[in-house]
């Protein structure tokens, strides 16, 4: 696959790993947060941590929109789907996220709710057009990468004159989340030396939104492409920034990210969405100006208004360490529930249910590292 395979070359990886090892200062510790869940997945799936030096660790950030969706919003979606008139269209990632009392969309479907897994937001519009007797609700989640596709779907629904299509909007914002992590008043504060910035969020928003982290917080940010070599090169660029005591926004993903970002997408989203005052994030609590809702002009397409959704905040299992893990405070193996009660089959918290979550990634790809035993070959 062009533009994919070249960036997965194992021989080049070993070379870059050697360069990183050569350039890290031996008596310094480096901790970088990869914000994006897709990067967490790539790091685990390719075993990148095996290629990094001992004194460099990656902290998995909260950039997994499935992981940060609070229990209350899943409950809302399940309640919407329980309405016999409703067809709930959702990305497959959300099917197994646990709601309250062990409920989930997958279980609701098993009990008879009309829940359809879709690949693209446009599939929801297609279903609404094909089934005028059904109230089609699109369960929209995601960071800035996934928000424009929702906007396109809404525009299409309007163009087709659909009256049975609405959106349950849970879109969230990246820079605000990054700021929240850095502002956390944890004692001692989490040492983050820099960020590996998200690939496709940045294709949309460009580089400007990250400047505050370099300028105000003095944290280097390197926007990295999606493939493992991109991640490694970004880590090398971060090491160099730290060593040279620079704090800049650099772009490693030059083939798909421009400084201005995707202005068409930005303008479309500005037309359709506005900021919520506040939104609950699993693990980060209530965060101001961190999420989007449909503008009043589109109230007819807003499922929250159409179906009078009243979100009830629900508590997580008190032993679940997702909040600390999402902030990079703890590692999956630090959670008592990890690997015992909480597994990808039987997830307690969202870090386990999404394959991008730190816990699922560690369990599925990496837990042999915390279970190191003498292996006789």
């Amino acid at each position: 696959m062009k533009y994919v395979d070249e960036y997965r070359d194992g021989a080049l990886a070993r070379g870059i790993a050697a360069t990183i090892a050569a350039e890290v200062l031996p008596d310094r510790r480096y901790a970088f947060m990869e914000f994006c869940g897709g990067h967490t997945h790539a790091i685990s799936r390719y075993g990148i941590e095996d290629l990094l030096p001992e004194n460099l660790r990656m902290i998995h950030g909260p950039g997994c929109p499935v992981c940060v969706l609070p229990v209350g919003r899943i409950d809302d979606a399940i309640r919407l789907a329980a309405n016999p008139a409703v067809t709930l269209c959702t990305y497959a990632d959300l099917m197994r996220v646990p709601g309250s009392h062990g409920a989930s969309l997958l279980k609701a479907k098993a009990a008879g709710a009309d829940i359809r897994m879709i690949y693209s937001s446009l599939d929801a519009v297609r279903i609404a057009a094909a089934e005028p007797g059904r109230e089609v609700v699109f369960f929209a989640i995601g960071f800035e990468t996934t928000t424009p596709p929702t906007a396109i779907a809404l525009r299409q629904a309007i163009a087709k004159g659909l009256t049975n299509f609405s959106i349950f909007c849970n879109h969230v914002l990246t820079p605000v989340a990054m700021r929240t992590i850095l502002d956390t008043n944890d004692e001692p504060p989490i040492a983050i030396d820099g960020f590996v910035g998200p690939s496709h969020v940045s294709s949309i928003i460009g580089l400007a939104p990250y400047r505050e982290f370099a300028e105000a917080y003095r944290k280097p940010v390197v926007i990295a492409g999606f493939e493992p070599l991109d991640v490694m090169q970004a880590i090398l660029m971060l090491v160099r920034q730290v060593n040279e005591q620079r704090a800049e926004v650099e772009n490693q993903y030059i083939r798909a990210v421009t400084a201005a970002g995707n202005v068409t997408a930005q303008n479309l989203c500005a037309e359709i969405f506005e900021l919520r005052d506040s939104f609950e994030w699993r693990g980060l609590g209530n965060v101001a100006a961190s999420a989007l809702k449909l503008r009043d002009a589109f109230a007819a397409y807003d499922a929250e208004q159409r179906f009078a959704v009243r979100t009830i905040a629900a508590a997580d299992n008190p032993a679940c360490e997702c909040p600390a893990i999402l902030r990079g405070r703890k590692k999956p193996a630090d959670c008592k529930l990890f690997g015992t009660i909480c597994t990808p089959e039987t997830p307690t918290g969202a870090c386990m249910v999404s394959s991008e979550g730190a816990c699922a990634a560690h369990y599925t790809y990496g837990r042999f590292r915390t279970h190191q035993m003498q292996v006789a070959s």
């Binding site: 533009y3 990468t145 596709p149 969020v201």
Partner: protein, 76 residues
Amino acid sequence: MCLAIPALVVQILPDQMARISLDGVMITISIALVEDVAVDDYVIVHVGHALARIDPAEAERTLALLAEAGALGQTA
């Protein structure tokens, strides 16, 4: 939400849609978010939508930088 894959545009369709190919596997996606998409462009595809065009020159430059970074380690 980042899972996105670079794919080749093989046909432009009406209503801002296009047919793309990933190693011969073809699907139809929306190109409404990217201006002036043409056949033979590579675009980043995410949940059925093109988000950005891949710049071939910058892609080459990245590969060169990667090769350079890889070579450094060998001589260090």
